[in-house]
Symmetry: C3
Subunit: 182 residues, 3 copies
């Protein structure tokens, strides 16, 4: 059982996902995909952590997720992964290393990201526990001037489509209100 | 009775709010939170005014809103406040004055904005007339490069969540179509 | 019969529109409004073309659309036009030619675009075949810093409202899921 929660920045999608997780089981394995890079980021992470129950298990991971979402997972421990957009960003930056943006091969980057997403979907399908994935809507603004931003929103949009297709339930969160769209 | 209308720029949210206001009562107190700063802004304000009935009362206010939304308001005069995003922006710029953006304490700014929003929610709850608030969806694009923009969308998102939680009715407007989500 | 499909970038709106078109009739006249300007653009066009059935007729057009969407169209051949946002952009750039952006008269630009949209709506109303129009949500991000981008999202938003009002059916596509909102 896979659920996808999507929404804009600060739309309340994390809280909605946490509510669904708490409803699906008492115990939760929280998988944080974010890497803390600076103080602004650290503040965001702390802000979110404070809103989660202290007894949830937390794991930091964003690649080879089939090592943590497995057929041997405890069926009673709900998996909550947050978030897909950060995962994409991490895979992208790990793939390009410190090469210059002008030289990046976006087709190769997207293929690499697709491999991770394919592995993630397979892992979710084989996992006996409910899996809840949180992602972001990033495509409803004006076309970004920045080339990386344009490619990023294309990739993120296509990943969201794949995940929503694989999921049994999809929610769009707007101003904290969850709207079930699948 | 508090209703929140949200939507993107030029999504038709003003018109939807005006239709709901006209349905809720013949008389309307329109509270405009915008401060006209330049000609582009003035043109937008004129464009909107022309679409509103001439007999509506209009008031310009964006702080101490509990002075205009009160327990003594006429229950027959619907209050329509537009918009929350501009209110946030005005409170922010009044708070920081002419200090440099690098020195701004966003936690203090957000606390100030939260005080205004808390007062607004209490005022709406005590007001005997229906209150309709218009706000904006600003979080469904790519992460802005600009630090102020990033903080602004975080603050606006959290404010929208609070207002939606307090409201009895929430509408998302897309291409002029109102979708009731609460 | 006119249907409007809206959604963010890479939201799956094209695929949703194509599915609706395939359901409405076996034959489809695909009207592409895009002008291929560079390799990035060409790659996007190829990506889309590969997902469409080979036997669909394709036409490139973005102005005087009443010459291709007419009362004499084959009622059995569904018209699928993609996309309105590109049409707006093409009309805008054709209107301003190579003049400097600082000198553009946005009111005149919008009047020109409105003429094209009015003609398009009339053409759709007189056409005996179902017409499916694809457009973009561009107004749910932070206010763009760029003046052209601000005006563009205003114009695009108002055009979307007009089309949605004229349409019998309106769909918002999110992460590949079509949500019928009218």
């Amino acid at each position: 059982m896979m659920k996808l929660i999507t929404g804009g920045a600060r739309s309340g999608k994390s809280r909605h996902a946490e509510t669904l997780a708490a409803q699906a089981g008492e115990r939760v394995l929280y998988i944080a995909t974010s890497q803390v890079m600076d103080e602004e980021m650290a503040a965001r992470v702390r802000h979110h952590q404070q809103s989660r129950p202290a007894h949830w298990r937390t794991l930091e991971a964003w690649r080879e997720l089939d090592r943590v979402i497995t057929p041997r997972n405890d069926p009673q421990e709900v998996v909550l992964l947050e978030c897909i957009t950060t995962l994409i960003s991490n895979v992208l930056f790990a793939f390009v290393g410190d090469t210059a943006e002008e030289t990046w091969d976006y087709a190769a980057i997207e293929a690499e990201i697709e491999r991770e997403i394919t592995a993630l979907i397979h892992a979710c399908e084989r996992c006996p526990a409910p899996v809840i994935l949180v992602t972001n809507e990033v495509g409803m603004g004006i076309v970004p001037e920045n080339r990386l931003a344009r490619h990023f929103r294309d990739i993120a949009g296509r990943v969201n489509q794949r995940l929503a297709q694989a999921a049994q339930e999809v929610w769009l969160v707007v101003s904290g209100i969850g709207v079930k769209i699948k």
